[in-house]
Symmetry: C2
Subunit: 311 residues, 2 copies
């Protein structure tokens, strides 16, 4: 008996999972049909192609999607819910419409208003998944979601309280592909170099309040001074940029102790963040995977789309 | 009587000037033949095409060039001179060779050695030009050369003492052209917006020791929150990035007073820096143009290529 069609529909990929009445995935299908890459931009056809047979077989299973599919460039734009927000508020903000292949419900993103507004879309689902997976975070926790745009989310009493965005992944990609810093590796190739990554982390930390603005160019000058091989320049740059993210976060703590910290996402990238955190003495970290699936189940439950599990 | 053929041969353009015995330009020729754009990569032909008639007419006038033409990707690689360096040391480091159209002398760049090495090439000539134009800087001064890679150069007793590099211009260009921050202006167009630039400066300054790492994304979130029109996003981003450069420099002063400060280069860009400096109470700035020509004359004099002027 299948209970929910759960979709993670982001910028670069689309993943659909068929969940049973316990929220366990019984089947998973992944396509490279992110919203920027959906064939002919035709979301309805992509949706029907991927899950049409599930809908026929399980006509009572609702479909719930999170991610950029609910953005301005997606299928329907779902208005942001204001932070702080709990799972019930996200559930109230669902946008539901006839997909042409049954109703589809879209999870809203979250906006933090004020002079320096901030937004996230997709990560809210991972956050509520993490709270279900790690009940000890519900009272107070920090969730770190590294990626193109890293999100640092403060959780307080079950609410997504506030968050910060670091464009570390995108900065790395544009500098690697389009700046002079990426040229040696573009010309001569790249290889992983743990010591170059560590050197980047150290140089970022040692920058102190000046930040890495005056040190970014050392990615090139160390290479020109023959202190850094071309093939190691990208790992050095990665260390500098992740290091600067951590330096900035730690400066924001104002000597408060860091609350329990959970890393969510790609294992290799989370490992880089774990190494960076260790430079600041933060070694008590956990790593979670599959938070999106758990979050979609949580939000579906809060919205009454599926029956709450007896706990 | 022409005394020197002075060339500023950089990445994107080539400028040749014929200087008289007082170092005054009597003719100027500019071509878009920077080292990355020289037709067929043939520096010899470009050189002969641009100045061949001058060489025939004034066979005794030496030719001296500064800039990226002396880099690894230029005509000949001129080894860096170590900082601190004075004009005499630059003159000793000239690389001279037969260009096929008479001898050509190339000015060396400067390398600052150490754990965080740094290099410049081209700016050394502007620095010694500025010292000739502003004798009050010789004892102690700070020269700011905004651009693709901004250089902040400390001068002490006539020496180029030390310097810092900020990749502000290149960061702006890659984010504008290749990141999500540039997309609204790429889609909808750009217009100058002094208040958006000022807001970026203020948000960078107010970031304090955290730096702009967590604020870069406000270029997008302010747009999404409809607090910043698409057409103004680039001026906001420019303010954030120039503001971060200034924030970092001011953090490095450790409460020392800023020494006399001179901006060198493009007037519109220098004006942006002047506005940014004003956010930190630094309002006593001068602006210099034509420092390269003056610097080539100084170095030619120090090298004995031209006779020193009676002063």
């Amino acid at each position: 008996m299948s209970a929910l069609i759960a979709l993670d529909w982001g910028t670069s990929s689309l993943r659909a999972q068929l969940l049973d009445a316990d929220g366990v995935a019984v089947e998973t299908r992944t396509r490279p049909w992110g919203i920027m890459h959906t064939p002919a931009g035709d979301f309805a056809t992509a949706f029907r192609t991927l899950v049409g047979d599930w809908r026929e077989r399980w006509p009572d299973a609702p479909a719930l999607a999170c991610g950029m599919i609910g953005s301005r460039n997606g299928w329907r734009e779902v208005p942001y819910v204001d932070a702080p927000a709990d799972a019930a508020e996200l559930a109230k903000g669902l946008l539901s419409f006839d997909s042409g292949c049954g109703d589809l419900h879209l999870v809203p993103g979250v906006m933090q208003r004020g002079e320096l507004p901030n937004v996230l879309r997709g990560e809210e689902t991972q956050v509520f998944g993490a709270l279900q997976m790690c009940p000890e975070l519900v009272e107070r926790g920090v969730l770190v979601l590294p990626g193109t745009h890293s999100k640092w989310v403060d959780v307080c009493e079950g609410r997504l309280e506030r968050f910060a965005t670091y464009m570390t992944g995108e900065l790395f990609a544009v500098l690697r592909d389009h700046s002079i810093l990426g040229r040696p590796a573009r010309d001569e190739g790249h290889e992983g170099a743990a010591d170059a990554f560590q050197l980047g982390l150290r140089n970022a930390r040692d920058a102190g309040a000046q930040g890495i603005a005056s040190r970014l160019f050392t990615t090139r000058s160390l290479y020109l001074a023959e202190a850094l091989p071309a093939a190691h320049t990208l790992d050095y740059l990665s260390g500098l940029l992740i290091g600067e993210e951590l330096r900035s976060v730690v400066a924001s703590l104002h000597d408060e102790a860091c609350p329990p910290l959970v890393l969510i996402g790609d294992a290799a990238l989370c490992d880089r963040y774990r190494q960076a955190l260790a430079f600041y003495g933060i070694t008590e970290t956990r790593h979670l995977e599959h938070a999106t699936r758990a979050g979609l189940w949580q939000i579906a439950t809060a919205a009454g789309l599926v029956a709450a599990r007896a706990s």
